[in-house]
Symmetry: D3
Subunit: 255 residues, 6 copies
C-alpha cells in the first residue's frame, strides 16, 4: 500500500480541461493528482533556418515552472538570465517525444510551438507535460485541418507518458508523487504510443543500480499506466479521435 | 456605448478564486473579463543584503506572461536571457504599490515575494496583477498571523488598481480591454487605497497630450472602478477584512 | 524655506551649452543645479524591423549614468551585463515623452537616437534628461532641415519636464535636489508641452499616499517650473524657435 | 556487415592513455575509433553550498567539444555565452552515472570535478566520456588514498558506457560511428557497472518507435560491449583494480 | 607636414580641468585636441576577494565611450550585455600602467577605482585616458593624505602615455588623430614614467611589419611627447607635485 | 643558470605534430616544454558582414584553456557565460599577428578560423599559440591550393612568437616557464617574421619599469628564439616551405 492509498500500478486521478485558454490554437490544463500543467500548442507560419525551403515543418517545445509551483519558491529563469540543465533536458524530451508521432512533412513550412507551464508540481511534471502537450497539439492540428490550413492528417498515433520508480519498501510503483520521487532509488520516464510501442525509455539510478528484471517490471507498469492515460485523452479529443485511429492502422488499439 | 456594451464607467466582470495553488502562503486567480492572472505571495525568511540586520522586511514583485497569453506567441524572457523594459517597469510598479499599504517593520526580517503570472491577456494585466497580488499578500499575512509568525497586523488599508483611457470616439472610459487599449490616445493606470487616497497615478499620451480637465475626469472614473474592485476583494478575504478595517481607522470606508 | 534657500516653486539654476560635442547631429550639456547630463541626438538612416517599409521614422532613447555621477560609485551596467529596471523605466519615459511632440511621419525612414548620459547626479536626472534631449533633438532636426534631409518640420510643440514632491515639513516643492528627493513622501515627474498640455504625469508614494488636492497643487508647481524651462530652451534654440512656434498654432505661448 | 567491416556486436578499437596531462589528479586520453576525449578528474577541497557542513562530498561533470572536433566548425559555447541543451544533458548524464558507483560519504567535504573535452568526434562522445571519466576519477582517488587524503576506498564498482542503435538495414548494432548514428532510427545509451547492473538506460526514437523485443536486443549488445570496455579499464588502472574488486563483493566479476 | 599642420614630433593641444565632477575623490577632464575623456578616481574601502586580509590595496580601471563619442553612433555595451575585446584590452592596460607607479602596500585594504569615460574620440583615447587617470588618482590620494586616510605617500613617479605611428607618407609621427590612426601602418602605444622609464610598449602592425630602427625612432618620439604631457600634469597637480618629486628620488626630473 | 638548467637565451624543447586532428583543414599539436596547445585552422566559405561583397577574406582567432590545463582547475568560460579580458586580449593578438603575413585578398570571400586550445599550460601559451597557429594556417592553405580553392599563394613570410622577461636574479631570459613568468618584473611578448621584422612588441612591467637598454636586450633574445622556432616550423611544413620562401623575396632567410 502506498502513502496515498494507491496500489503500485494505480495512477493518480487525471483531469484534462481542453480549450483552457482562448488565444492558443490548442490548449489544455492537465492535472495528475496535484501536478497541474497548462499546455498550449501554437502554429507559427515559418520554420527555423535549418529547415527553410524544404517544404516540411518543425515542432519545438518549451517547459517552465511558475516560481511558486513548488513547496519552496524557485528563482525564475528569466531572472537568472539562463535556463537550467533540467529545463533544457525536459524540453528536449517533450519535443523529441511529440515529433515521433507527428509527420512534419504534412504540416508545411510551419512550426508547432508547444509550451508547458507547470502551475503546481507534485512529481511527474515532465510526463504530465507530454501527455497534455499531445492533446494541445492534436486540438491545434484539428483546428488547422478544419480551416483548410493542412490537408493531410499528420498525427500517426496516440502518445502519452508516465513515470515509474523503485522504492526500497514498496518496490516498483507507477506515477510517483513528489514524496515518492524524492526517495526513489531508480527513476524512470517512459513514453509510449497508442499501439504500445516505446518512444522514449529513460531509466536512471542516482545512487543505485537496477537489474534487467526490475527494468522489465517497471516497463510493464508504465505501459499499463499509459493505456489509462490514452483512454483519458480519447475522452477529451472529440472528433479528432477518428482521424488518429485511422492513421494508426484503422483501429488505434493499444498493442 | 463601448464595443462590448459596457458604459464608460463600467468595469468588466471580476472573478477571484482564492487559494488557487496549494504551496504558496497566499494565492488567487483573478479574472477581469478575459484577462487572467495567477498571483501568489510567498514568505521567505530573509531579506535582501541592503536590509540585513535592520529588523524590517521587504516586498518584491515579479511579473511574467505565459508565451501564449497573447494573440501571437511571445518569446519567453528565459529564452532571450533578459527581461524587457516593459516587464521591469510593471514589476517595479506592483512592488511599489503594495509597499505603500504594508508596514514592513511589522513582518520581521522576511521577504514577501509576489509573483504575477499572466495566463491570458486582454488589457489591464498590470492593474489586475496589483488587485490580485493584494489579495494574495493579505491571505499570506493572515496565515502568518494565525501561525504566530507575525504578531502585529501589517496591512494598513485596502489596495486596488484600474486602467482608464481616452478614446477618440468614446472619450474617457474605465477598465480598457486590449482592443480599446490599442487605440487609446491617453493611457492611465491608477492605484488607490480603500480610503480613496492615490498610491500611483501614471498617465501617458504616446502620440497625444491631455488637459487637466481630462486628467480629472479619468481619475474620477478610476476611483469609481477601484471602489467596486475593493468590494470584490472584501468578498474573498474572509476574516482578514476586519483586521484591515481596524488598521484603516476603524471603518475602512472608501472616502 | 528649503535647505538651499529656494522658495517652494523655485527651480534650480538652469544652464544649457548647445553643440557640446562635435559628432552628434544635435547635442547639449544641461545643468540643473548640480545635476549635469550630456544629451545627444543622432540620426540613423534606417528604422527598427517593426517599422520597415512604412515610410515613417522612430525615436529611441537611452539613459545611463557614469559610475561616479553619484556620491558612492555605482557598478557599470556593461560590467553587470544587464540594465537595471530603473534605467529601463527612465529610457522608456524619455522616448515616450519626446515622441509625443515629434511627428515621425515627417522624418522618413530614419531613427532619432537620443542618448542621455548623466555626468553628475543631484536629483531630477530623468526630467533634466527630457528637457535637454528635447533641445538636442530640435538641433539635430534643424540641421537635417538645413541640409535638405527633411522637408517638413516635424516638431509640433516645445517639451520640458520637472520633478515635484511632497516633503513632510516643507509640503509640496518643485525641482527636488537629491537630499529632498530622498526624504520626499510623494514623488512626481511631470512632462508638459509649450502649450501647457500634459504628456506624462507619474506620481508615486512609496510609503505614503496622496489626495486629489495634493495632486492638484503638485501639478500647478510643475507647470510653473516647466514654463521657466521652456524659456531657457528658447534662449538656446536660435532659429529653430520660429519653426516650433509656427507648428504650435502660430504663437507657441504657454497656455 | 557494417560499413567499417565490424560485426553488429563489435566495438571499435579502444585506446586509453592514462596520466595524459600533468596537473590533474587523474587524467586519461580515451580513443574509441576516431572519437577522442581528454578526461580529467580534479579534487577541490570544498563542496557546493547545498552540501556544506554535511561531511560528504560531491561529483560534478562538465563536457565540451573543441570547435573543430567536428566535420564542420562549431561555434564555441563561450562565444555564444550559453551552453546548449545537448551539452547540459550530457554533462548531467556523466555526473549522474559516476555518482552511482562512488560513495561520496567517503571522500569528505570535497568536490570531484570531471572534465570531458572532446578533441575529435566520430559518434559516441558521451559514452566514451563516461568510460574515460571513470578511469580519471579512479586514478585521482587512488592518488588521494596514497597521499592519505582519504582513508576509505569510495569506488564501489567498475563503470562504463556504450551506445547501441537500430539501423533500417543492419538492425541493432553496438558502438555506432557518426555515420551510423546519423541514420539510426533508434538511439540508445547504456551505462552499466562491472557487476552487470544498469545505471542508465536512455533509449529514444526521434522519428521511429521501438518494441520491447528490440529494446531487449539492444540492451544485450550494450552489456556485451561494456564488458569489453571494462577489461580495457582494468588494463590501465594498475593497483586500483584490486581496491575496486574488493569493494564490489570480492571478485568484481561482470555478472 | 601633417594634415593639421603639426610637425611629426608635435603633440596636440592638451587641456586638463581638474576637479571636474563633485563626488569623485579625484577627477579631471582631459582634452588632447578633439579627444576628450572624463577621468575619475574613487576610493572604495575594501579590496577584491583575492587580496583580502593581506593589508594591501588594489587599483582597477574601467573604460567606456559614450555612444556618440564617435562619428557614427556606437551601440552601448550595456545594451549588448557584454564588453568588447577592445574595451577589455584597454581597461587592462590602464590598470596595469597605473599600478606600476602606485605602491599599493601604502593605501591599506582599499580599491582605487579608475573610470575613463570618453566624451569625444579623435584618436589616442587609451593614452589620453592613462594620462588623465594618473592626474585623477594623484588628486584622490592627495585628498586621502590630507584627510589622514593614508599616511605614507604611495605615488612613486609621474606617468603619462602617448601614441606613435608610422604613416606611409609622413613616416613616424607622434600623437595621431583619428584620421592618421586609420591609415597608419604601424600603431604604437607607449607609457613612460617621469624618470623616462618604460612601463608599457605596445607596437603592432596590422598589415605591415616594422624594423628595429623604426621602433627606436617611434620610442624616441613617444618619450618626447610624454615629457610635454608630464609638464602639463605638473601644472594642474598643485601641492601633490612635491610629494611625487620626493618619492621619485628627490628631483622627479625626466630622464 | 635558470631553474631548469637552460641558459638565458635557450628556448625549451619544441615539438610539433602536424595533422593532429582529422577534420580541420590544418592542425598541429605544439609543445614548448610542458606547454601544449592544439591549433587548428578551418576554412569557412563566407566572411563577416563588414567584409561582404568586397572580394577579400578574413582571419579570426579564438583561444581557450581546458579547465585543468592549469595547476588549479579554472572555471570554464562557457560556464561563466562570458570570456575574460585575458582571453579577449590573447585572441585579438593571435588574429592580428597572423593577418600581418597573410594576404587576405588572395583567399577570396572566406574566413580562416584559427582555434588555439591549451591542453597544458606552463607559461608562454599565447606565443606558442601563434607559432602553432601559423603552422595550422599554412597547412590549411596548402591544402586549399592543392584542391584548387585558391590560386595565388597568400602567405607572405614565416611567423613565430616568443616570450622574454626580466627576472631580478637572472636578468633577461628567453621563453619563460610558468614559475619564471610568475616572478618576472617585466614581461614581453614578441612576434617576428621570417625576415626578422617585428609584427608585435608588447612589453609590460606590472610592478616595475624598464629602460631602453633592457628593451633592446629583450628584443635581441626574442629574435634569436624566434629564429629557432622558424627552423622547427620549416621542418614540419614540408612542400609549403618553398611557397613561403618564394613569397618572401626568394630566400626566406631570417634577417
Amino acid at each position: 500500500m502506498r502513502q496515498d492509498g494507491r496500489s503500485k500500478s494505480e495512477i493518480r486521478t487525471v483531469n484534462m480541461i481542453p480549450h483552457f485558454t482562448k488565444y492558443a490554437e490548442g490548449s489544455v490544463l492537465i492535472a495528475m493528482g496535484d501536478t497541474k500543467v497548462i499546455c498550449t500548442a501554437s502554429i507559427e507560419h515559418r520554420v527555423p533556418p535549418f529547415l527553410r525551403n524544404k517544404g516540411k515543418g518543425w515542432l519545438a517545445a518549451e517547459y517552465s515552472m511558475l516560481p511558486r509551483a513548488t513547496a519552496e519558491r524557485t528563482v525564475r529563469e528569466a531572472a537568472k538570465g539562463t535556463r537550467t540543465g533540467r529545463t533544457m533536458e525536459i524540453q528536449r524530451l517533450i519535443g523529441r517525444a511529440l515529433r515521433a508521432v507527428i509527420d512534419l512533412d504534412k504540416i508545411g513550412e510551419r512550426t508547432l510551438w508547444v509550451d508547458c507551464d507547470v502551475i503546481q508540481a507534485d512529481g511527474g511534471t515532465r510526463t504530465a507535460s507530454i501527455t497534455g502537450a499531445y492533446v494541445a497539439v492534436v486540438l491545434a492540428l484539428k483546428k488547422a485541418r478544419d480551416e483548410g490550413l493542412i490537408t493531410k492528417w499528420p498525427v500517426k498515433d496516440f502518445l502519452a507518458a508516465i513515470s515509474v520508480g523503485i522504492l526500497s519498501k514498496e518496490g516498483a510503483v507507477c506515477d510517483l508523487c513528489y514524496e515518492e520521487d524524492a526517495k526513489a532509488e531508480v527513476d524512470m520516464n517512459v513514453v509510449c504510443t497508442g499501439s504500445g510501442k516505446f518512444v522514449e525509455v529513460q531509466g536512471s539510478g542516482e545512487e543505485a543500480v537496477f537489474s534487467e528484471a526490475q527494468l522489465t517490471e517497471c516497463l510493464s507498469l508504465a505501459k499499463n499506466g499509459i493505456r489509462t492515460l490514452i483512454e483519458e485523452q480519447r475522452a477529451v479529443l472529440g472528433d479528432a479521435v477518428s482521424f488518429i485511429d485511422t492513421a494508426a492502422n484503422g483501429d488505434g488499439s493499444y498493442e
